[in-house]
Symmetry: C2
Subunit: 363 residues, 2 copies
C-alpha cells in the first residue's frame, strides 16, 4: 500500500492506494468519530462492492443508500434524497458519510456531508479511475444546475481517501479512458517527465497492468495534493487543474450532462486548449500532435461533437466559473508541463480554434 498525505493544517488527511483495502477496518475506523455511518453509493457500484466494504465497519450503525447512476442525477433533488435518508435514520452531527463510487457519488456525498447539520465527516472511497486521480482528492464537492456544471457546492475536505485499485477490474473501458484524460492532464500542466512516462506506458495502462495503474494513480494524486495544499480554495494555482475544463464543460452542457463522460469532454477540451496555445505561438504544432496522439491512443475522442458550433461553445464557456467580471480566463500551455491561467489571449485565435475543430468534426 502506498500512502500520501494532503497537508492542509488541521484539515490534513491521508490518501491510501493499494489492493484489498475495501474491507480493512484499520483504514476506515480512525476516520469515523461517531457511531452512525451512511454509505452513499449508486445502483451500479453498490451491488459490486458494498458487501466487500462492510467488514471494515463492524460495530457501527451502518446504513446505505443507492443513488441512480450518472451525471444526469448530480442534482439538488438527488442531494435531498441523502438528507431524507440521514434524517429518516435520525443521524446526528457526529455521523460519517462514506462515498463509494465514482466522481458523481463523491461530489454529491461530499456536498451532503458539507451541508448536513452544517457539516459532518466523510470518507472518499473512489471506484473509478477518474475519481481516484482527481475528484476524490481536494475537497471540491457539489451538484450541477441545469444552467451550469458544478455551480452549487462547497469546499469540504474528506477525513481520508481510500483507493482500492481492485475496483478498476470492473470498470468499463470507456470509463478507464475518461480517467486517463485527467492523468494526462497532470503531465501537461506541471509534470513533463510524467507526460513522457505516459507516452511510453499508455498500452500498459489500457491493459490494466496493476503496477502501471498504481504508479499513475499515485503520481496523479501527488500532483493534485501538492496543488491543493498550495491553494485549497482556488485563489490561484489550483485553477491550473481546470486545464481543458472550460472547453470540456461547454461540451458537457451543450450535449446534456452524461452524454459525454466528464473525462472525455476534458480530453477534447485539453486538445482545444493546446490548439489555442499553439495559435498564440506558445506550443509547436509538433507538441499539439504529441498531445493528440496520446489522447487518441488512450481511446479518447479527439474531435468535438459534430452538432456543436463555435457559437454554442462560446455561449456555454461564458457561464463557466473561470469567468471573472466578464473577461474570460483560460488555462493554456506555455510548454508541455507548464500551464498558466490567463485572460491574455487573442479572441480571434479562440474563434479559429473552435472553427477549425468544428470543421474537423463535421468532415
Amino acid at each position: 500500500m502506498r500512502t500520501l498525505q494532503l497537508d492542509l493544517g488541521e484539515r490534513s488527511y491521508p490518501i491510501y492506494i493499494g489492493t484489498q483495502l475495501l474491507g480493512n477496518p484499520d483504514l476506515f475506523t480512525p476516520h469515523i468519530h461517531g457511531k452512525q455511518v451512511l454509505i452513499v453509493s449508486n445502483t451500479t457500484v453498490a451491488p459490486l462492492y458494498l458487501d466487500a466494504l462492510m467488514p471494515a465497519l463492524d460495530g457501527f450503525n451502518v446504513q446505505a443508500i443507492s443513488l441512480p447512476d450518472g451525471e444526469a442525477y448530480k442534482t439538488l433533488d438527488t442531494l435531498n434524497s441523502i438528507f431524507d435518508a440521514l434524517l429518516g435514520y435520525r443521524f446526528n452531527r457526529r455521523c460519517t458519510l462514506i462515498a463509494l463510487g465514482g466522481g458523481v457519488v463523491g461530489d454529491i456525498c461530499g456536498f451532503a456531508a458539507a451541508s448536513y447539520q452544517r457539516g459532518v465527516d466523510f470518507v472518499q472511497v473512489p471506484t473509478t479511475l477518474l475519481s481516484q486521480v482527481d475528484s476524490s482528492v481536494g475537497g471540491k464537492t457539489g451538484v450541477n444546475h441545469r444552467l451550469g456544471k458544478n455551480m452549487i457546492g462547497a469546499f469540504h475536505q474528506p477525513n481520508g481517501v481510500i483507493i482500492d485499485t481492485d475496483t478498476l477490474s470492473t470498470l468499463a473501458d470507456r470509463e478507464l479512458s475518461a480517467g486517463l484524460a485527467e492523468i494526462i492532464k497532470y503531465g501537461l500542466i506541471r509534470d513533463p517527465e510524467f507526460f513522457t512516462w505516459l507516452e511510453d506506458n499508455i498500452d500498459r495502462l489500457l491493459a490494466r497492468d496493476p503496477d502501471a495503474l498504481a504508479f499513475a494513480i499515485e503520481r496523479s494524486c501527488r500532483n493534485k495534493a501538492d496543488v491543493v495544499a498550495a491553494d485549497e480554495r482556488e485563489g490561484g494555482v489550483r485553477a491550473l487543474l481546470n486545464f481543458g475544463h472550460t472547453f470540456g464543460h461547454a461540451i458537457e452542457t451543450g450535449m446534456g450532462y452524461g452524454t459525454w463522460l466528464h473525462g472525455e469532454a476534458v480530453g477534447t477540451g485539453m486538445l482545444l486548449a493546446a490548439d489555442l496555445s499553439a495559435r498564440q505561438g506558445w506550443l509547436t504544432s509538433a507538441q499539439v500532435e504529441r498531445i493528440a496522439r496520446l489522447l487518441d491512443k488512450a481511446r479518447l475522442p479527439v474531435h468535438t461533437p459534430a452538432t456543436m458550433d463555435s457559437e454554442q461553445f462560446l455561449e456555454h464557456m461564458a457561464v463557466d466559473k473561470k469567468v471573472l467580471d466578464g473577461g474570460m480566463r483560460l488555462v493554456l500551455l506555455k510548454d508541455i508541463g507548464n500551464a498558466i491561467v490567463t485572460g491574455d489571449f487573442d479572441t480571434k485565435h479562440l474563434r479559429s480554434t473552435l472553427d477549425a475543430a468544428q470543421a474537423r468534426a463535421t468532415n
Copy 2:
C-alpha cells in the same frame, strides 16, 4: 451609529447599528468586491425597503429577487430559485449577495452565498428585530427539511451586517415580540444585568422607543459576537445560544413551520427549560416566575400549544441537532444569567415539565 466588530481572524466583520443606514454607500461598497450584486428579499420587505437600499449600490450591476414570505418557504426549492437567478444573470464567483429581510431571507440568502460556485460574498441587512439581534450575526445559514429545522446549511460569515433600526417601524407587533424573545435569551444565558434592564424597560421596548431598541440591539449583538468569536463552529460555548431552542424547535416542527414564529417558540421553549432547571433544583420557582412574567409582558406565549402532548415534544426533540449519539443534551440554567449545556438531568423531570405544561395549556 454604533459599530461592533465580530473578531474571527480573516473572517472578521463589522456590525453597524443606527438609523438611515440603508441608502449609505459608505457602509455597503467596502464589502462588495466585484461588480455584480443580487439583492435577495421577500414579497413583504422588498416593496417597503428595496428602493431605499438602491442609492447605496450606485454603479454596480444590481439585480433583485423576491422570495415568498415565511418560514414555510425556507426550503431547498426556494434556495434553487436564487441559483436560477444568479445563473440567469450569469453572475460569477466575484458577485455579492445582499440579504434584505428577516431571518428566513438571511438564512437562505447566506446559504445560497455559501454554495454558489462554492462560496461568494454576502452582506446581511436584517429588517426584523429577531434577525437584527440573532440570525444575521454569526454565519449560520441554511434551510429546513420536512423532517427537521435548519438541518441543511453551512457556516458562512457575511462581509458585514448593516442594521437600520428604521426598518422596525413597519414591523408587526407579533414580530417585535418574537425578537424580544431572543433579546431576553441573552440576559438569561450570560448577562444578568441586561436581564434586569429588560425587566425595567420592557414597556419602552414595546412602545418602540428608539433609544431603548438601539441599546437592546447593541447589547444583544455584543453578547452574540462574543460567543461566536469564542466558538465559531459550535464546538462548545456557542451551544448556549440554543437555550430554549430544542423545546422551541419541537413546537415549530409539531405545529408546522410558520404557525408559531421562531421567536415565539423559543420564548415558550425558554420557559420550559427554566421549569426543568427548577425541577433540577437549580432555579427557584420565584426565578421561573420572573422569567414567565417578563415573557408575558413582552406579549409572548407562555403556554405550549394545546394540541401537542409530551410524546410529540419528545419525538420532535430527539431529531434536534443537539442530540449526540442518542443522549439528549439541553441548555439549562444554573441561575439567571448562567446557562450550561448538559445531558445530566433527570428525564423524569423532563417528562414532568412537559406534562405540567400540557396540563396548563389545556386548562
